[in-house]
C-alpha cells in the first residue's frame, strides 16, 4: 500500500510539485487573512508571511554557511585518521 501510494505520486511528480506550490501559497494566505496575531511575541511577527520568509531564509543560510564552513578544511578525506 505504501509502495503504491509513493509510486502513484512519483508518476505525477510535476502535478505534485505544482500542488505543493499552491499549498504554500494557501498557507501564507490563511496566515495573512485569518490567523489572529495576538499570540505573537514580537512586532516583526506581524509582518505578513514573516515566518514563511524566516523558514526559507533560515534554511538557505544554514545550507550555505555550513557548506562554506565545511569546505574551509573541516570536511576531509575519510581515511584522515588512519595511520
Amino acid at each position: 500500500m505504501i509502495l503504491k501510494l509513493i509510486d502513484f505520486l512519483r508518476d505525477r511528480l510535476s502535478l505534485v510539485i505544482r500542488l505543493s506550490y499552491v499549498g504554500l501559497a494557501l498557507l501564507v494566505a490563511w496566515d495573512v487573512l485569518f490567523v489572529s496575531k495576538e499570540h505573537a511575541h514580537t512586532a516583526v511577527e506581524h509582518i505578513p508571511g514573516f515566518w514563511a520568509a524566516f523558514g526559507f531564509v533560515a534554511c538557505v543560510v544554514i545550507i550555505i554557511v555550513s557548506k562554506w564552513f565545511g569546505h574551509r578544511g573541516i570536511m576531509t578525506r575519510e581515511d584522515y585518521y588512519d595511520n
Binding site: I2, L27, F54, I63, G70, M75, T76, Y80
Partner: protein, 598 residues
C-alpha cells in the same frame, strides 16, 4: 504494608541482567521482555507516592537511593519505557552480554534519576559510562575498540571533574552531600566543576565530540539505548541542580546551531542523527538555563519526546545498517521499494523531531521556545526557531530523501540485501512511532506527568497562530531544501570536529614519546656511559684487583686448611653406597653401645 515497600527499578534490571546468561534458550526472549516491563510497572506503582525511600547508612553518611517526586517520575517513566522498546528492538541479538550491558547502562541512568545525594549519583554516573562503552566495543570492528577507549577516557575526565566538584562542595558546605538546587545565584568553583561534569554528559560544546564519535560506531541496538540515556540523564541532573543558571541559555543555543551545521556536512546517517542529538539537547540545556516553570516543564517534555523520536530514528537508520551493512548516504539511496515500512517509521520520527503538528515535538519544543520569548530573551527564541528549521532540513528531509529516494548509490549487494528488518525490530519502531503520535495528538498524556502542573495546564500548543507559524517555517524550509538539493548531495567525506585535538594530540604524545623523549633518553644513556659507567668500571677493576691480591691472600690461608680437612674426609667417602651404609650403621652401633653401657 505495601506502601512501605519500595523497590529500586535499577535493582530489577541489575539482578535481571545477571540471571540472563543462566537461563535456557527458550526462556530468554520472554524474559527479555518481562524484566524491563517489571521495572516499568515498578515505576508506575510509585506514582503519587512522593517521598524519600531506600536510605542506607554507609560509614558516616546516609545515602539516599530513592527520592521520588514529579521531576524524578517523568524521567523514570520514559526511561523504563524506552528500555522495553529498545530491548524488543534488540530481541534478535543472541549475545547475552549486549543485553546485560544495555540493562546495566539503563540501571545507571535510573540510579541517577532516583538518587538523593552526590555519592550515589557519582556511583551510578560511572556505572553508566562503564556499561555503555561495551555497546560500542560489541560492534567488534577494529575501530570500535579505539572509539570505545576514547569514549571511556572522555567520560572518565568528566567524572573526575564531577568528583572534584563534589569533594570541594562537601568541604565548603561542611559535609552536605544532598543533590538538589545547587545555588546558581552564588556559584563557586565547585559549582562550575560539577556543572562541567554534567555538561560533558549532555554533550555541550566543547565537550561534545565523544557523542557522534561513539554513537556512529555503536552496535545497531546499542546506539538505540545510547541515544536515549546519557544526555537525558545529564539534562535531568542539570534540571535538578542548575535551573536558572543563565550561562546555560547561550550554551544551549550554540549547541542547537552547532549540531545543525555539522549535520549539513555529515555523510553517515547515524552520525547525522548524533549531531542532531546535540542540537535537540541544546533546547533542553537552554530550557534549564531559562529556569522558569514553563521552561523546566518544556525541558522535561522535550526530553520525554526526544527519547522516543530519537530512539525511533536510530532504530530506522539502524535497520538500514542491520539489513544492508551500510549507513552512509553515499552508499545508499532509492530504498523505498525495498524498505517501505522502515521508511514510514523513520518519517514519523523525522516529523516528530521537526515538531509537525500532531507529532510529539510540536507539543514539547514550543514550550521551551515560548519560555524564552516570555522572559524576553528574543535572540534565544529566534535562534532556537532557526535551529528547528535546520532540524526539519536534515532529519525530516535529508535522511529520508537520501536513503529512500534520491540517487541510488547502492551496490548490487546492498540492493539485494535491503529489506524491512525482522518483526521484533519493526515492533520496536511501531511502538515508538505510536507513542510519538499519541504524545503529539493527545496532550494530557504527557502534560499530566510534568513537574509543574499549573504551568502545564496553562499552556496550549494548538493555537491557530502556533500551527500557522510552525507550518510556515517547516514548509518553506522544505522549499529551500528542494531548491538547493544539489548543494546537499552526499559527499564521501568526514568532518573534523573538536575530537581532532585529543585524537591528534594523542598522536602528538606518541610522537613526543618516540622522537624527542627517546632522543633525550639516548642522550642520558650516553652521558651516563661517559660520566657514570667508565669511572664505575675503573673503580670496579681496582676493587677486583684488591680482592684478588689482598683479601684472597688472607682468606687463602684459611681455605688451604679447609681443603686439607676436606681431602682427608674425601678419602673416607668413596662414593659407594654400601660403604656409606656401613659407616652410618657403625656410627649408630657405637652410639648404642655408649648409650647402653654409660
Amino acid at each position: 504494608m505495601i506502601t512501605n515497600f519500595w523497590l529500586h527499578p535499577a535493582l530489577i534490571l541489575i539482578v535481571g541482567a545477571f540471571i540472563l546468561p543462566f537461563l535456557p534458550k527458550w526462556l530468554k526472549r520472554p524474559y527479555l521482555i518481562i524484566v524491563p516491563t517489571l521495572a516499568f510497572l515498578d515505576v508506575l506503582s510509585m506514582q503519587g507516592q512522593n517521598g524519600t525511600f531506600g536510605v542506607v547508612r554507609f560509614l558516616d553518611w546516609y545515602l539516599t537511593f530513592g527520592r521520588v517526586d514529579g521531576l524524578t517520575m517523568v524521567f523514570a517513566y520514559i526511561m523504563t519505557l524506552m528500555c522495553i522498546i529498545g530491548t524488543i528492538y534488540g530481541l534478535h541479538v543472541e549475545d547475552d552480554f549486549q543485553h546485560i550491558a544495555a540493562w546495566l547502562y539503563v540501571a545507571g541512568s535510573l540510579g541517577v534519576i532516583f538518587c538523593g545525594d552526590y555519592l550515589v549519583l557519582f556511583l551510578f554516573w560511572e556505572l553508566m559510562a562503564f556499561a555503555s562503552v561495551f555497546l560500542v566495543w560489541f560492534r567488534r570492528r577494529p575501530e570500535s575498540q579505539a572509539v570505545g577507549y576514547r569514549y571511556l577516557l572522555v567520560h572518565t575526565a568528566g567524572g573526575l571533574a564531577l568528583l572534584a566538584g563534589l569533594v570541594l562542595r562537601y568541604q565548603a558546605t561542611g559535609g552536605d552531600l544532598s543533590f538538589g538546587p545547587i545555588g546558581v545565584g552564588s556559584p563557586s568553583i565547585s559549582t562550575y566543576l560539577i556543572m562541567i561534569g554534567f555538561l560533558l554528559n549532555a554533550a555541550v560544546p566543547p565537550f561534545h565530540a565523544w557523542l557522534p564519535d561513539a554513537y556512529g560506531e555503536a552496535t545497531v541496538t546499542g546506539a538505540v539505548f545510547m541515544c536515549a540515556f546519557t544526555t537525558k540523564t545529564a539534562i535531568y541532573a542539570l534540571a535538578r541542580a542548575f535551573a536558572g543558571m543563565e550561562i546555560l541559555v547561550p550554551l544551549g543555543v550554540c549547541m542547537a546551531l552547532y549540531g545543525v551545521v555539522y549535520a549539513v556536512l555529515e555523510n553517515d546517517s547515524r552520525r547525522l542523527l548524533a549531531y542532531h542529538i546535540i542540537s535537540q539537547v541544546g533546547y533542553m540545556v537552554a530550557g534549564v538555563g531559562i529556569g522558569t516553570e514553563l521552561a523546566i516543564n518544556g525541558t522535561c517534555a522535550h526530553a520525554f519526546a526526544h527519547i522516543l523520536y530519537k530512539g525511533l530514528l536510530f532504530m530506522g537508520c539502524g535497520s538500514v545498517l542491520h539489513m544492508t551493512g551500510k549507513s552512509k548516504f553515499s552508499d545508499l539511496g532509492g530504498l523505498y521499494k525495498k524498505m517501505p515500512r522502515t521508511f514510514v517509521f523513520t518519517m514519523i520520527g523525522g516529523l516528530s523531531i521537526s515538531a509537525f503538528p500532531l507529532f510529539s515535538g510540536f507539543v514539547s519544543k514550543a514550550m521551551i521556545v515560548s519560555a524564552g520569548f516570555e522572559v524576553h530573551n528574543y535572540w534565544a527564541g529566534f535562534l532556537l526557531t532557526m535551529a528547528s528549521a535546520g532540524t526539519f532540513l536534515h532529519t525530516g528531509l535529508k535522511v529520508p530523501y537520501f536513503i529512500w529516494f534520491g540517487k541510488n548509490n547502492c551496490s548490487q549487494e546492498t540492493w539485494d540485501k535491503a529489506a524491512d528488518p525482522p518483526w521484533n525490530m519493526q515492533l520496536g519502531m511501531g511502538i515508538a512511532a505510536f507513542l510519538c503520535i499519541l504524545i503529539g495528538s493527545y496532550t494530557p498524556y504527557l502534560y499530566n506527568m510534568l513537574p509543574y502542573q499549573q504551568a502545564a495546564a496553562a499552556y496550549h500548543p494548538y493555537t491557530a497562530y502556533h500551527i500557522s507559524e510552525t507550518m510556515q517555517i517547516l514548509l518553506f524550509t522544505a522549499l529551500g531544501f528542494f531548491l538547493l538539493i544539489k548543494k546537499l548531495a552526499p559527499e564521501p567525506k568526514i568532518s573534523l570536529d573538536l575530537d581532532w585535538f585529543y585524537r591528534m594530540g594523542g598522536r602528538g604524545f606518541f610522537w613526543l614519546a618516540r622522537k624527542p623523549i627517546q632522543w633525550a633518553d639516548n642522550c642520558v644513556s650516553e652521558g651516563y656511559r661517559y660520566v657514570g659507567l667508565i669511572p664505575l668500571m675503573t673503580t670496579a677493576n681496582f676493587w677486583s684487583w684488591f680482592d684478588w691480591h689482598a683479601i684472597d691472600g688472607v682468606v687463602d690461608g684459611l681455605a688451604k686448611t679447609v681443603r686439607g680437612i676436606g681431602g682427608a674426609v674425601r678419602r673416607v667417602q668413596s662414593g659407594q653406597l654400601q660403604y656409606n651404609i656401613f659407616y652410618a650403621v657403625s656410627l649408630v652401633a657405637v652410639a648404642l653401645v655408649i648409650y647402653v653401657f654409660a
